[in-house]
Assembly symmetry: C2
Homo-oligomer: 585 residues x 2
């Protein structure tokens, strides 16, 4: 067998296990051991790493944030039982671990230096307004150093730090085999998010917390909570208690104001900003449960005349009761959003003009009639969002299909239909969530049911956006692909989306992870490497497998991306590759 290059690649591939890949990294092959009494300093002061240190916000100090990060990072390293046998072949099992000798070189200090000052806005900063970069070094003699301009950068550095270490199978010892290490790192995109839909299925707090943890491990910094839709309204609004009382799937399946605050703080402390979306004026039928006077077409049938999926329902337009209701809603909710986020998402996708035919105040599906009404609606409500100190985000239909006039300076548009360039041409800042690449829910079939007379039409019952997007496809997507440089700058980042028609707590982890991580590397490290080449799956796969294994150890039920044999052969990336030129290397 002719495989000289496999050996070379083997060395290269085992070189770095960090996910997402740092922008710049050098490393050696010396072993250092991490002692549980490692002395940690922050800007020169001793920092204890009490397990589970959790300050209460939003009036944190930078030290609070960093100490929380240190507590979690050390807790992960020492608390996870991550012996990476699964990353090594059978033959390597006896040799992949360093010998536990008495003359260990210990990492005795971790010196954290924050070179800049955080502002009170650091932990809720808009895209580009906080410096997330960091440096991390580990000298051969055991001195670890982290430097960053912001506490956010320190948190990222600490997550990288955790990925350097493994547990030893022979006892309570933790080591890194890659010293000395020098890393300089910073994100390519400022907005790196996951959309979680808590309306089509409800997710208990523990699922949201676990997801926030997993996002932070992958250096993703946004959790976009699609909080309401036509199906259910789980978000408790104290001034409008009837909305969730009647609109949640069950009276117990709500997020109280305290829950929301806990979610926001849990995220903020992990450098994950939580962004709340109330989708409107479509996708809000559930208000028909508590406020039938405000909506039209709720559960109207056949649904496909009125909306994209059952149950239908949209706000009435040009209606003062709606305006007043939203005023009350925003007055209640937005002051609870603004301490933790720069953004509020007002939805705006898939509005079906037919709905307004059922609106007694409109009775038309003529876009010429509807457009000015919609313009008023957006002006009024985006004005309210801005008055609360927040930047509105809207789905692209408002900007493209309805051509609503919105100020590009103060509005962010989220694209899902693949029309990023149409938006950047208009000067909008864009979040890319191209469904052809980054919709994590796609490809598992219809969730509608079909009577026998419809079977022939819908056979074999595939969904609209399948097949499932494999990690390789997710990894291939660059949100700025094909854009001129000036327009590329407007793309603040992207989100992968976990629409929850067929996702609930039972299967969420398996569908989100590790595929969201594939997008995380594109968004953090960039689709192209330092040489301008597309990042290769051969380099990525072993690292993603390792990251997945770490995540499973930490309690996230991430799916395997390949068989165990291939994971163990990770050091030989050609083992499970389709090698077009087997003798060409």
């Amino acid at each position: 067998m002719l495989r000289p290059l496999a050996v070379v690649l083997s060395l290269a591939a085992s070189a770095s296990a960090i996910w997402p890949a740092p922008i710049s990294m050098t490393q050696g092959n010396s072993t250092l051991w991490l002692t549980q009494t490692v002395e940690i300093t922050y800007n020169g002061d001793f920092m204890p790493y009490t397990y589970g240190y959790t300050p209460t916000g939003p009036d944190w100090t930078s030290k609070d944030i960093v100490q929380g990060g240190v507590s979690r990072a050390l807790g992960q390293i020492f608390g996870d039982y991550f012996v990476p046998w699964m990353l090594h072949t059978r033959e390597e099992q006896a040799t992949f671990e360093p010998k536990v000798m008495s003359n260990k070189t210990w990492i005795e200090s971790l010196e954290i230096t924050q070179t800049g000052e955080d502002s009170e806005d650091t932990w809720k900063a808009a895209a580009g307004e906080v410096d997330e970069s960091y440096s991390l070094s580990l000298s051969k003699d055991g001195k670890a150093k982290i430097g960053a301009a912001s506490s956010i950068g320190v948190l990222h550095a600490l997550q990288t730090f955790t990925q350097l270490f493994y547990r030893h199978s022979g006892g309570p010892f933790w080591y890194t085999p890659m010293a000395p290490i020098d890393i300089e790192d910073s994100p390519t995109f400022a907005h790196r998010g996951l959309l979680m839909d808590v309306s089509r299925h409800y997710f208990p707090m523990e699922d949201i917390y676990r997801t926030l943890d997993a996002l932070s491990w992958n250096k993703m910094n946004r959790l976009h909570i699609h909080a309401t839709d036509s199906q259910s309204w789980p978000l408790e609004i104290p001034s409008l208690p009837e909305v969730s009382a009647k609109g949640a799937y069950h009276p117990s399946l709500v997020y109280t104001p305290t829950d929301l605050k806990n979610i926001q703080e849990y995220g903020a402390m992990r450098a994950v900003q939580v962004i709340i979306e109330i989708d409107m004026p479509g996708h809000i039928g559930v208000l028909g449960e508590s406020h039938p006077e405000l909506v039209v077409a709720y559960d109207e049938r056949p649904y496909y005349w009125w909306c994209a999926q059952p149950p239908c329902g949209a706000l009435r337009l040009n209606n003062s009761d709606v305006d007043e209701f939203l005023g009350t809603l925003f007055e209640d909710l937005l002051p609870r959003v603004s301490p933790y986020s720069s953004y509020f998402h007002t939805g705006g996708d898939e509005l079906n003009a037919n709905d307004s035919m059922l609106d007694p105040g409109v009775q038309s599906n003529d876009t010429e009639v509807l457009k000015p009404l919609l313009q008023n609606f957006i002006d009024l409500n985006h004005g309210r969002v801005k008055d609360a100190g927040l930047t509105p985000i809207v789905w692209e239909e408002m900007a493209i299909d309805w051509d609503i006039d919105m100020d590009p300076e103060t509005t962010v548009v989220q694209s899902w239909l693949g029309t990023v360039s149409n938006l950047t041409e208009k000067g909008f800042k864009v979040i890319d969530t191209n469904y052809n690449f980054w919709y994590l829910d796609c490809g598992r079939g219809q969730w509608l049911t079909f009577d026998n007379d419809a079977n022939a039409t819908f056979y074999p019952f595939n969904d609209w956006c399948g097949p499932t997007k494999p990690w390789q496809l997710i990894y291939s997507h660059d949100p700025t692909e094909g854009l001129p440089e000036e327009q590329a700058k407007l793309v603040i980042g992207g989100e992968v989306a976990a629409w929850s028609e067929t996702i609930d707590p039972a299967n969420m982890d398996t569908l989100v992870w590790p595929r969201a991580g594939a997008a995380a590397e594109v968004l953090w490290s960039g689709r192209y490497d330092a040489d301008g080449e597309p990042r290769s799956q051969l380099d990525a796969a072993p690292r993603l497998q390792e990251m997945r294994a770490r995540m499973v150890t930490r309690g996230v039920k991430a799916s395997p991306i390949t068989q165990q044999w291939c994971v163990q052969m990770g050091g030989d990336p050609l083992a499970c590759s389709y090698d077009l030129n087997p003798y060409g290397h």
Copy 2:
């Protein structure tokens, strides 16, 4: 809104919650309450239902088996906290449960009558050799009766019994709202299985136990364990200890003889026969770890010249060392299989003729050369299987592609390529596992990785058998479709397959359930109803959703098949249907 029929369907759909659907069932709408002191008799004798009653086999008595079933059924009813709020709309939440009044009608007795005698072979019977039918009745005044010819039938009846009951949210009360009930039930197909691949990923015992439980709840009666493949050999063979010592992914990831016995007994007590497959002569490369002299092409590259996926590897043909090795293997393993199964699966899929070019004793890929060698191989080894009192099962390639001469009376052929009729024409008994319908692993993308130069060729990285098979497609498949009646009789049943290239304990439940249940209903109840009409998704969906909810309550992470709103609208099946003729009803 015009939906008179919705109301009618609503009543019809809520009528029966049993999965899979009984062949015949009548029911009422009276509520009966199940007391924890229900008196149970078996053939007239008092039967205690000690929780967790677990006799040791294989020398069970029928009473042991029934008592185990009673223990589990009552344990499920009283132990699950299955308050079915999620099956009812918001409006129904206050009313769907019966009032907890003092004048309850209690079910005070469950009288189990087994009309036939079990033989020592009952719990390992071949297809068609045990009567699985049962009757179950519940009178309006609270007398429950189960009748069955075999203890297997009693076990099925008990599983149906559990599905009649719900927990009351108001306290420790359990009720059925559907009395009186009369059920006559029996399976359409005798072989109703799941293939679980424990070679590409290892599954701990708890995952196998949980899967056996879930199979039994769905009245599936076969767990086909694909125990070995080229990737790993987790099955410990005491007379050949080196095979798993060197062939398991890790020395700890093995099934000991005790493990195997425990799996077999756990299944047998639940009417699930465990069938072991050792795939050969292909798909056995892993022997190269312990017995390189027996295999060719182990991890040969590029893999696609030698086999379907890495690592390659096949047994040498016409080789006395191989014959001797298999003799030792079978002598060790088969006596441990035969107490619990009528079958032993010898594999036989995807043998690549090129492998024998590397075989020093053959040096040819000419099928005319190979076929007689393969004939000898099958003759010898199927002879050994039969000598051990077992019926060999082989994959279809042996019968079709290689046209090996095998006795249809004493050989079962498993079809995955959709060629059932070719096999029945030859007179073989057939297990149908058509990959276009019943492969549960398909459609989530490639698990190989591709270097940048191969991206264009393999983009968008779909796997070979996608897209994912939705439950509706699985449900549409009749294993006897298009067969003349005489040949249809030869189809003993089917299996859904969970090949584990990208399935491990993290995501197995989500991919197997409830989709395996869709096949379970086809196999138990038949694809066609009593009127000869294909069973409708509109009838099936609410029942499958309920079954899925029960399974989640019982700790199986089955995936949702639709959004929560549709589940709650289950009583109105048109709510989440694509209604081609909205005004035609």
